[in-house]
Amino acid sequence: MTQRAFFAIVGARLRGESRSLAYACAAAAVVGFVQPHGLAGPIFFCSLLGIVIALIQSPGRFAHLDLCEQSAPLYGRELARAKALVPCIVATLATAAYCVAAEAAGLRDLATTFVAAFAAVIPVTLTALSATIRTGTWQLLYVAMACAVSAIAFALVVVAGSVPAELGFAALVSFFALRQYGEALARYDPV
C-alpha cells in the first residue's frame, strides 16, 4: 500500500467520524472535569470510549468507503493498519480531552495520567476492532477481551505500580490485536 492510499483511507474515515470524534471528546472532557483524580476514571472511561468507537467501525456504517476499499488493490493487513488508526486517533484525542479537562479541575500529574490511560486505550481499541467483523458469541468474546485488557492495564499501573510494565503489556497486546484484525480482514467476505 502506498502512503497516499494509507492517508486517503485515514482521512476519509476520520472525516466520516468527525461527529463521533466531537462527541467522544466532549464526553471525555465532562467526565474528566467531574472525576479529575485517580487512574480508574481515565483508564476505564476512555477504554469504554475506545470500545464504542471501535465497534462503530463495523461494515455498513460507511458502505461506499467499505466497497471502495474492498474493491481496491490492497492487502488485508495494509487495510487493517489504515482502518485501525482511525479509532485509535479518536480514542487518543478523547483521552487527551479527558486529561486536559481533569487538569483544569485540579489534576496534578497530567503526564502520568495521560500515558497510563493511553497505554490502556490503544490495545483495548485494537482488540475491540476484531469484534466488528464477527458476529454472535465471537463478537461478544472480543468485546470481553477488550474489557479484560483494560482491567489488566489498570492492575499493572495501579496495583503493581509500574507504568513501564503497562506500556510493555500494551505494546504486546496491540501487536497481536492488529495482526489478528489484519488476518481476519484478509479472509473477510463482505456479504
Binding site: 497516499r4 486517503a8 461506499h64 481496491a72 456479504v191
Partner: protein, 184 residues
C-alpha cells in the same frame, strides 16, 4: 468463471459459468438482490469462490487478489449522493489514491465522463466515474439501472462488462446496448 459458487455467511450462489473478453458484455439474471450482488463481487474478485474457479485475466482472486482488483472495477447498485462538486472531487481523489493514479488527471477524466453520462442521475453516475478512475479492463455492474443502459455502456467503452440483474427486461436492455456499442 467456471462453475464458480459461493456458499458461506448463510448465502449460496452458483454454480456460475461465464466467459467475457475485451469489448464483450455479459448480462446475467439472478433470483434475488443478494445473489446478484454476490455474483457481481465474485466476478470482480471481491469475494472468493468457495467452489469452482474464477480467473480475472490470468489471476485467481483467491491468491492474487490485488492483481485482480487492478483489472476489474466494481460498480455497486446503491447510488452515491454527493452534495456538491467539491465532494465529488474529494471522492475521485480518494479513489485515485487507493489505486495510486494521478488525482488531478483522474478528476479531469471523471468530469469528462460525467458529461458523457448526460441524462444519468448524478448519484448513479458518480460510482461509475469513480470505478473507471483506474482504467480497468473489466467493469462489473451490480444491478445497474436499465433506464441508463445505453449511456452506461457507452461510457464504459471497449472494456469487458459483466452485469447482474433481477429481471430479464433489465438484462435485455444491457444486451441491446452492448450490441449497439462500437467493437473493441
Amino acid at each position: 468463471m467456471r462453475e464458480a459458487s459461493f456458499d458461506a455467511s448463510g448465502a449460496a450462489v452458483g454454480p456460475i459459468t461465464l466467459d467475457v473478453h475485451s469489448g464483450e458484455g455479459v448480462a446475467r439474471v439472478f433470483g434475488g438482490s443478494r445473489e446478484a450482488t454476490i455474483a457481481a463481487m465474485l466476478a470482480a474478485g471481491i469475494v472468493k469462490a468457495t467452489g469452482g474457479s474464477v480467473l480475472i485475466d490470468q489471476y485467481d482472486p483467491r491468491v492474487q487478489s490485488a492483481h485482480c482488483k487492478r483489472i476489474a472495477a466494481f460498480v455497486p447498485h446503491a447510488p452515491l449522493p454527493l452534495p456538491d462538486e467539491a465532494e465529488f472531487e474529494r471522492y475521485i481523489a480518494y479513489r485515485a489514491a487507493l489505486w495510486d493514479v494521478d488525482s488531478m488527471r483522474a478528476i479531469a477524466q471523471a468530469k469528462l465522463l460525467l458529461e458523457r453520462l448526460d441524462g444519468v442521475h448524478e448519484a448513479f453516475a458518480y460510482p461509475l466515474a469513480g470505478a473507471l478512475v483506474a482504467a480497468p479492463q473489466l467493469v462489473v455492474l451490480d444491478r445497474p439501472q436499465p433506464a441508463y443502459a445505453r449511456q452506461i455502456v457507452a461510457a464504459i467503452g471497449p472494456r469487458a462488462i459483466v452485469s447482474t440483474h433481477l429481471s430479464a427486461a433489465a438484462a435485455e436492455a444491457f444486451s441491446d446496448a452492448e450490441r449497439s456499442r462500437a467493437p473493441a
